[in-house]
C-alpha cells in the first residue's frame, strides 16, 4: 500500500473528467413509507454536495453508496465495477468497496489513538504495522494534526477530530469519498477554518466525493456541484452559482435567501400562481420561476411613487432580526407572501409591527426569471 503523498491535481472543470472513473448510480430504496429515487453521476475528481432538509434521504443515499444499506432496486457502479445490483443479485459489502466515509460525529474508535485510527483502514487492507503507521503519520501531518497522533479521540477538539476522521477515510485511497455533515458538529469559529481546509483536501483528492450537508454555505464553498434532495427525489442539480441564483424550490430559495415566485409568463408580464401580476425585465413565455432578493424589496407607509413597477399593499406577517437587518414578511390577499430586508432604523421610522399595513415595491430589473 502506498501513501498518496502527492495526489495529482485535477483540472478544475470536473464535468469533463473521465466518466469511467466516477460513480454512476440509480438509487431506489424503499423502507416502509419512505422511498428514495435518486439518479446520481459523479465524475472522477468531482465534489458533489447533497443538500436537503432533514428526512430528504441524504444519509440514506450515502449509506447505500457506502454499502451499509442495500438497494431495493437500481444499481451502483464505481469506476466500472458494479457494487450493488439487486436485479442481478450482486452486492459488494462495504469492506470490499474502497469507498471511504467521514461520519457526522466522526465515529473515531475511542480505544485507539488518532494515529491508530488512521492506520486502522490500512491495516485492514493488509498493510504491515510499520508501513500503516508510517502512512498514517504522513496523513496526520497532511491534515495538520500530527502533534495529536497519540491522543485519544476524547482528548481531541471537534476540529481536530474532524481532521483525523478525514485522514482516516482518505488514507485508504478510496475511489469514492462520502462525507456525512462533516462540519455540523463544529462551532462557528472552528467551522470557518475547517471548511476551508476540507475544501482544499477534497480538491487534492483524486476520486469522486459526495458531501451531505444542510448548510448552503458549506455546499457553495466545498462542492463543484450541488444536488438538492427533497423527499427522496432530486429537485435541483447544478453548479453552486446556478443554484444560488436560480433556486427551483421554496426550500432552496429559503436556503440561499431569495424570494421565489411561480407563474406563467407572457412577454414582460408574469401571472403569479398565488395571484397578481409581476413586471419582469426580460420577456418570457410559459411557466416560469421568478427570484429576487429581499434586499431589493422596499417598504412604504403610503403608495410609493417611482420607477418600481411591482407595487402592492399588504400587512406585516412577521418580523425577524438578522445580523444588521430586519427581515419582514409581507402577506397580502391576492398576492404571494414576500420577504423584505429593511434596516432597524426603517423599522422605527415606518413604525413597523406585526399586523401593520404597508406597501411594498421592487423593480422589474431586480428580478431573475427562468423557466420552471
Amino acid at each position: 500500500m502506498t501513501a498518496s503523498g502527492s495526489a495529482p491535481t485535477q483540472p478544475r472543470d470536473r464535468r469533463d473528467a473521465a466518466a469511467g472513473g466516477g460513480v454512476a448510480a440509480q438509487l431506489r430504496i424503499s423502507r416502509g413509507e419512505f422511498h428514495v429515487d435518486v439518479d446520481l453521476e459523479v465524475p472522477q475528481g468531482q465534489v458533489v454536495a447533497l443538500l436537503g432538509p432533514n428526512g430528504a434521504g441524504k444519509t440514506t443515499v450515502l449509506h447505500a453508496l457506502a454499502g451499509l444499506l442495500r438497494l431495493t432496486d437500481g444499481s451502483i457502479g464505481l469506476a466500472g465495477r458494479v457494487l450493488d445490483d439487486p436485479a442481478h443479485r450482486r452486492f459488494v459489502p462495504a469492506e470490499q468497496r474502497h469507498v471511504g466515509m467521514v461520519f457526522q460525529d466522526y465515529l473515531l474508535f475511542p480505544h485507539l489513538s488518532a494515529l491508530d485510527n488512521v492506520a486502522f483502514g490500512l491495516r485492514a487492507r493488509g498493510a504491515g504495522r510499520g508501513a500503516a503507521r508510517a502512512t498514517a503519520t504522513r496523513w496526520l501531518e497532511r491534515v495538520g494534526v500530527l502533534e495529536h497522533a497519540d491522543s485519544r479521540p476524547r482528548q481531541l477538539s471537534g476540529g481536530q477530530a474532524q481532521r483525523v476522521a478525514l485522514a482516516r477515510a482518505l488514507a485508504t485511497e478510496p475511489g469514492l469519498l462520502l462525507l456525512d455533515e462533516p462540519l455540523a458538529a463544529l462551532d462557528a469559529a472552528t467551522r470557518l477554518e475547517v471548511r476551508a481546509d476540507l475544501a482544499r483536501h477534497l480538491r487534492e483528492f483524486g476520486g469522486s466525493a459526495v458531501l451531505v450537508t444542510h448548510d448552503p454555505l458549506d455546499a457553495m464553498v466545498i462542492a463543484d456541484r450541488i444536488i438538492v434532495l427533497e423527499q427522496g427525489r432530486v429537485v435541483q442539480d447544478g453548479l453552486p452559482a446556478e443554484v444560488a441564483r436560480a433556486p427551483r424550490t421554496d426550500y432552496v430559495a429559503r436556503l440561499v435567501g431569495l424570494n421565489l415566485l411561480r407563474g406563467a409568463g407572457t412577454g414582460p408580464m408574469v401571472a403569479l400562481e398565488a395571484g397578481g401580476v409581476l413586471h419582469v425585465a426580460d420577456p418570457v413565455d410559459g411557466p416560469v420561476l421568478v427570484a429576487f432578493p429581499p434586499t431589493s424589496v422596499t417598504l412604504h407607509r403610503r403608495h410609493p411613487e417611482g420607477s418600481a413597477r411591482n407595487v402592492w399593499q399588504g400587512t406585516i406577517a412577521g418580523l425577524e432580526q438578522h445580523a444588521h437587518t430586519v427581515r419582514a414578511q409581507v402577506a397580502a390577499p391576492g398576492h404571494p407572501a414576500v420577504l423584505a430586508d429593511v434596516t432597524p432604523s426603517a423599522v422605527a421610522e415606518l413604525d413597523l409591527a406585526v399586523g401593520a399595513p404597508v406597501w411594498l415595491s421592487f423593480k422589474a430589473t431586480d428580478t431573475h426569471v427562468y423557466p420552471a
Partner: protein
C-alpha cells in the same frame, strides 16, 4: 454555571438515601458479624494449614479457568443474542438465565445426569474414551462455569446492545471484515461490560458450592474448593469455618480489585 452543574451532578433525592443506606447496611452488617466473631489470634495458624492453602489454591485456579471458559464461550453467545434476530430469542434468553434461578444442587444433579458416568453424554465419554468427569478438577470447572456463565452472558449482551453499532459501520467502510471488526472494534468497545461480566462470573465461580459438591464431589486437592472446606469445617468447628470464610473473602476481594483494575486500565490505555 459551574455551581449549577455541580449541584446537578450530585442531585440525589434525599428520599433515596434512606433505602440506599439500609441496603448498604444489609449487605455489610452480616460481614461485620463475621468479623466480630473472628478469632484473630488463630488467623495465622489457620492460614498456614496445608489443607487450607490447598483449597484456596484450587479455588483460585478453578475460578480463573472457569472464568476463561465463560469468556471464550459466553462472549460469542452474548454477541449472537445481542445481534441475531430469530424467533424464540426471548425464550432463549429466559433459558440462559435458568442456572441463575436453579438451586445449585439441582444444577449439579442436572450436570450428573448429562455428564455423569451414566449421563446422556457422559456414558459415551466413558465408553468411547474412558473419560469420567465426576470427581475430577475438570468437573469443578464445569460446575462453576455452568452457574457463572449467565452472569457473563447477561452483562456482555447488555453492553453489546448499548454499544454504538455505527462504529462497526465505520470499520466496514475502512475495509475491515466482520471478524477483524469484532476483534478490533466491537470487543474493545464493550470491554467494560466484559470485565464487569467476568468479575461477576469469577466471584460466582469462587463462591460456588452446591453444584460443585454435587457434580464434582469433595476430595482434598482435587475437588475440595474453599466453600466446600468452609461448609465441612462448619460441621465440627464453627470458629475455624469463620476464619476460612474470612480468608476466602479477603482473597476474593483482593483478586477482584486487582483484576478489575487491570482490565479497566487495559481497556482504556
Amino acid at each position: 454555571m459551574t455551581s449549577r452543574e455541580q449541584r446537578r451532578g450530585s442531585g440525589i433525592p434525599p428520599v433515596l438515601l434512606i433505602p440506599a443506606g439500609l441496603a448498604l447496611a444489609f449487605l455489610l452488617l452480616p460481614l461485620v458479624g463475621l468479623l466480630v466473631r473472628t478469632p484473630w489470634a488463630d488467623l495465622g495458624t489457620h492460614l498456614t494449614q496445608p489443607a487450607v492453602l490447598e483449597a484456596l489454591r484450587l479455588s483460585l485456579v478453578t475460578g480463573v479457568i472457569a472464568t476463561a471458559v465463560c469468556l471464550v464461550l459466553g462472549v460469542p453467545l452474548a454477541w449472537v443474542m445481542a445481534r441475531a434476530e430469530f424467533p424464540g430469542l426471548r425464550l432463549l434468553r429466559a433459558l440462559i438465565t435458568l442456572p441463575l434461578v436453579l438451586p445449585p444442587v439441582v444444577g449439579g444433579v442436572a450436570l450428573l445426569l448429562l455428564l455423569g458416568r451414566r449421563g446422556l453424554i457422559g456414558q459415551h465419554l466413558d465408553d468411547w474414551f474412558g473419560i469420567s468427569l465426576p470427581f475430577t478438577t475438570t468437573a469443578v470447572v464445569i460446575a462453576q462455569a455452568f452457574v457463572a456463565m449467565p452472569f457473563l452472558v447477561i452483562a456482555v449482551e447488555g453492553a453489546l446492545r448499548g454499544a454504538d453499532r455505527r462504529y462497526e459501520d465505520a470499520a466496514a467502510t475502512l475495509g475491515a471484515g466482520r471478524w477483524l471488526t469484532f476483534r478490533r472494534v466491537t470487543l474493545p468497545l464493550v470491554a467494560p461490560g466484559i470485565s464487569a461480566g467476568a468479575v461477576l462470573c469469577f466471584a460466582r465461580a469462587l463462591g460456588e458450592f452446591g453444584a460443585t459438591i454435587t457434580f464434582a464431589g469433595n476430595f482434598p486437592g482435587v475437588t475440595r474448593t474453599m466453600p466446600l472446606a468452609v461448609y465441612l469445617t462448619l460441621e465440627t468447628d464453627p470458629e475455624a469455618a469463620i476464619v476460612l470464610s474470612l480468608v476466602l473473602l479477603l482473597v476474593s476481594v483482593a483478586v477482584l480489585v486487582s483484576l478489575r483494575g487491570r482490565w479497566v486500565s487495559g481497556a482504556s490505555s
